[in-house]
Each structure stands twice: as C-alpha cells, then as structure tokens.
C-alpha cells in the first residue's frame, strides 16, 4: 500500500507517485485530444446557424404541428413494405447465419480455416451499417424493397451469426458425448444434441434482431430502399413537415409495438 511520510507521520495514499503521475498524464492527453477534436468540429461549423437554432427550433415545431392526419391513408403500403423488409430480411439472415455459425463455433467447426472464413464474414457484415448496405444494393439493384430486404439481411448475418456461434460454443458437452456414443452421424449429433440446447437462444436472438431490423427498415428508405423512409425522404425534401410528423408518429408506434412483442417473446422463452 502506498504510504508517504510527511513530517514523521505516515499518510495513506490511493496510488504511489509513479501511478499517480501516469494517471495525470493519461487525463492530460485525453483532455488535449478532446479539445483538438472539438476545435476541428467547431472549425467546420457555421456558427450563425447555431445561434439561430432556438428560433429555427420553435419554427420547426410550428411546422410539425398540427400533423396532416389525412396523409395517414397513403402510409398503408409503405408500412407493409417496412414490415416485410424487416421480416424477410431477418428470415434470410437466419437461413444464412445458421450454417455459418455451425462452421464458426469452436466445438463444431470442421476445419480451423473455415472458422477463420466464418469470422471474416461475420466481421465484414457487422462493421457495415444497414444504411450503407442499402446504398450499395440500391446502386446495384436499383431502388426498391428488394434492395431493402437484402440490405437488412446482409447486416443481420453478422449479428445473428456471432450470437448463434457463441451460443453453440456454450453448450453442455455431456449430451453431445452421449449422442456420439450411440454411433450417431455428425448431422444427428447436431440435431439431437446441440440444436435442442441452443434453440431458445436462437429464437431469442432472432426476435431481438427482428426488433432492431424493424427500426432500421424505417430509415433505409432514405437512400432509396423503400418503406417509410422513402416517404420520409420525400416529405423532408418537399419541406412537408406536417406529413413528416405523421411519419414520425407512425415510426414511434411501430417501434413501441415491436419492442413490446420482442420483450414478451424473450421473457416467455428464458
């Protein structure tokens, strides 16, 4: 314990001198970094707009309200598209992520090279946001719901695959040994020893991702991938804020609903 002697009395200190200096140095470097970053951002900001923000904000609220309720009628189809992008995207990603997870999990992988390949796919899929996937797919496939479905699916593979393979790595090895002892084939081991153990977490992860995907599919339309985002983009570009506020409210309801469903399902299975 670091103790210093001051005028013949022992004084307890939390850290010895070297550690304290290191902490101070860390703080100074951190604060300098923060100030440097702040300066860069301040330099790229048009401050006259910022000082105008309170007025802009109050005017903006004035334009949002009252919402143009009649616009709700036109939102039926985009809502259906949004729901489909989330659901189909999640289903496709589960179909692709399951085999990848089996090949990637340490205890089921047939070869370390395949494991590395699986990890690579998962990392690439995870690091690219679904909005960026949508940008890419809209450029390739043209605007539309299909690009949205695939963007959601490609982003979800990494998330679902990572959580699936971690679940597979955590299974209890005893049932696997028991099933193996009966002379079962690898496929039978998978379906009778591993699958029953991971099924609850598979369902939980899938529903959780569906919930996230529903949120994301409300915005990927901003880059042309269909659904509510497309309507929002049109409304914002036309400065139709009373229509935009209706869309915001629909998104809010959708998110609350999906969160309630997902929380309920996950509570039921765990």
């Amino acid at each position: 314990m670091p103790v210093s002697v001051v005028r013949g009395q022992k004084v307890w200190q939390r850290r010895d001198r070297a550690t304290a200096l290191k902490h101070w140095l860390g703080w100074i470097v951190g604060v300098c970094l923060l100030i440097g970053c702040g300066r860069i951002i301040a330099g790229a900001t048009n401050w006259s707009f910022v000082w105008d923000a309170p007025r802009q904000g109050s005017e903006f609220l004035g334009r949002l309200f009252p919402p143009q309720w009649s616009y709700m009628v036109e939102l039926g189809r985009p809502l259906w598209d949004t729901l489909n992008m989330a659901t189909l995207g999640t289903l496709i990603s589960i179909g692709i992520a399951l085999p990848i997870a089996v090949l990637t999990a340490r205890n089921t992988t047939p070869h370390p090279l395949l494991r590395s390949l699986g990890l690579l796919i998962i990392v690439v899929s995870r690091s690219i946001n679904s909005l960026i996937w949508a940008l890419l797919l809209v450029a390739i496939l043209g605007p539309g719901v299909l690009a949205g479905v695939l963007a959601i699916a490609l982003r979800s593979i990494g998330f679902v695959g990572k959580l699936f393979y971690e679940a597979i790595e955590e299974v209890n090895p005893a049932p696997i040994e028991a099933i193996t002892a009966t002379g079962a084939s690898p496929a039978q081991i998978l379906s009778y020893a591993i699958l029953p153990q991971v099924l609850p977490s598979l369902v939980g992860v899938s529903v959780f991702r569906w919930d996230i995907n529903l949120r994301e599919s409300t915005v990927i339309g901003l880059v042309g991938a269909g659904g509510l985002g497309l309507q929002l983009d049109a409304a914002v570009n036309a400065l139709q804020w009373s229509q935009a506020s209706v869309i915001f409210l629909v998104i809010l309801l959708l998110v609350l609903l999906s969160e309630a469903i997902s929380a309920r399902v996950r509570r039921a299975i765990t």
Partner: protein
C-alpha cells in the same frame, strides 16, 4: 413421446422427437398463416427483373472495385470525412457519457424518488426510440449542415444506450455498502461517490467502450442526411457509381471498426 411399432419386421419401437407445439391444430394453423404471410410478402416485393439482371454485371464491377480500391483520386475528401467521423465519435462519446451519468443515476429506482425516476426514464425512452438518422434530421434543421449536428445526434443517442444500461447496473449492485455508507450519515452525493460509483465504474468503462464503437459506426452514416462525417462522401461515390472509391471508403470503415473493436476488447479485459 410417440412410439409406433411398424407392422412388419423389425419389431423395435421407433422413437421420434415430440413436436415443438403440442396442439396439432395450432401447429398446422401457425404454419399455414406463416406460409400465407410469406406468399403475400413476396408477391408485393415488385422485383424489376430487368434491373436485377443489369445489376448482376454491376455487382461484378463492385467486386472489381473491392479488389482495386481507389484511395488516391478522392483522397482529400476521404481524409476529411474520416477525420470528421473520428472527431465526432470522440466528442460525442465524451459528451454522451457526461450527460448519461446523471440521467443514469436518476433512472435507478433504488437511488431517487419516483418523479425524478419517471423524468429520467422518459428521457431515455425518447433517446432510444428513434434511429440516429432521424435524430440527425432534427439536428440538421436546428444547427445546419456539418459535424456539429452529428455530434449532437450521437451524444443524444448515446444517452439512450449508456444511461439505460448504467441505471440497470446501479439497480443490480450490492445493497450492503450502500447501507453502510448511509449509516455513517452520508449525504446523497457522498453515497453515490463512495457506495455506488466504485461498484459500477468497471462496468461503466466497458459500456463507454461499447458506445464508442457504436458511435464510430453511426458516424459513418449520419452524413447521408447532412450531419457530417464520411457518409456524404460515401453516398456521392455510390450515386456516381464510383465503386472503387466507395470500396476504398468501406475498407477504411471496416478497418477502423475492427481496430476499435480490438482496442475496446483489450480495455474491457484489462478492467474486468
């Protein structure tokens, strides 16, 4: 469990696993409904096959772009955008943390009276509900185009993540030190400093590194609506079909995300 003996040779009962849903009506009904939904969903996809076949040759171009990413021709924009994304991430994580700690304390039912709790929970719910991009639309209207809107967006979104998880950590801490500090006649602030923070600090640092990671990913996209960072450059590259430039940007993003993930993992391992 179902055991049915087959009529002919071998006389052993054959076991088959029980179905997931016991009620056959419910089982087949759910399957049928699911099938009908999928049919309806696929039939309304409106796939433009001509465009898709044209896209296949274009996807080859994307692939070639990834093999030969072009860092050079737009280097100035890329450099600027990446620097902006990184600085936005750093500032937003710090500001978000500074805002999240008081809100997180206020959202822990064990520490505060009901009105404060409800207020803080309401703020967290508001921050969590909307996607970063939608929040960014608001802030761009408020403070104009540029990275400041992005910083405000990411800081606000960080509250929904950090404050919520911090509050859950606080509600789960050991109550014994709390009681001990309270018994000494400590004020609320002293209670937080000496009984609560020491218990949640390691977890808080872990959460901050997670959020840094998320903020970096999000900083790459809020530029799509004009809130600064690399997103605007990326969108331009895609809409001009400059796939080699887009590939260069994506590779930089993947590299940065990977680097922060490794760094954050190392920090978390050291602390916990």
């Amino acid at each position: 469990m179902k055991a049915n003996t087959s009529a002919s040779h071998p006389p052993y009962p054959r076991w088959s696993p029980p179905p997931l849903i016991a009620n056959p009506l419910l089982r087949w009904g759910a399957l049928l409904l699911g099938g009908l939904y999928l049919l309806a969903a696929f039939s309304t996809l409106e796939i433009n096959w001509e465009r898709v076949t044209a896209g296949i040759s274009r996807s080859l171009q994307v692939f070639v772009g990834f093999l030969q990413p072009d860092f050079a021709s737009r280097w100035w924009e890329i450099q600027n955008g990446v620097l902006e994304s990184l600085t936005m991430t750093v500032v937003a994580t710090v500001v978000g943390t500074a805002l999240s700690i008081p809100i997180g304390l206020g959202a822990a039912r064990t520490l505060v009276p009901l009105p404060v709790y409800l207020l803080c929970r309401g703020m967290i719910a508001l921050a969590r509900t909307f996607q970063e991009v939608i929040i960014a639309i608001f802030f761009v209207v408020l403070v104009g185009f540029g990275p400041l809107a992005g910083v405000l967006t990411l800081s606000f979104a960080s509250i929904g993540f950090l404050a919520k998880l911090l509050a859950e950590e606080i509600e789960a801490i050991q109550p014994v030190p709390l009681e001990a500090i309270r018994a000494t006649g400590a004020s609320w602030l002293q209670l937080v400093t000496y009984a609560v923070l020491p218990q949640v600090l390691p977890r808080l640092v872990g959460l901050i590194t997670y959020r840094f990671d998320i903020n970096l990913r999000e900083s790459a996209i809020v530029g799509v609506v004009g809130a600064g960072g690399i997103g605007a450059t990326l969108q331009t590259a895609f809409s001009r079909y400059d796939f080699d430039v887009a590939a260069a940007i994506l590779l930089i993003i993947i590299g940065l995300v990977w680097a922060t993930e490794v760094g954050a993992g190392a920090i978390r391992r050291r602390i916990q």
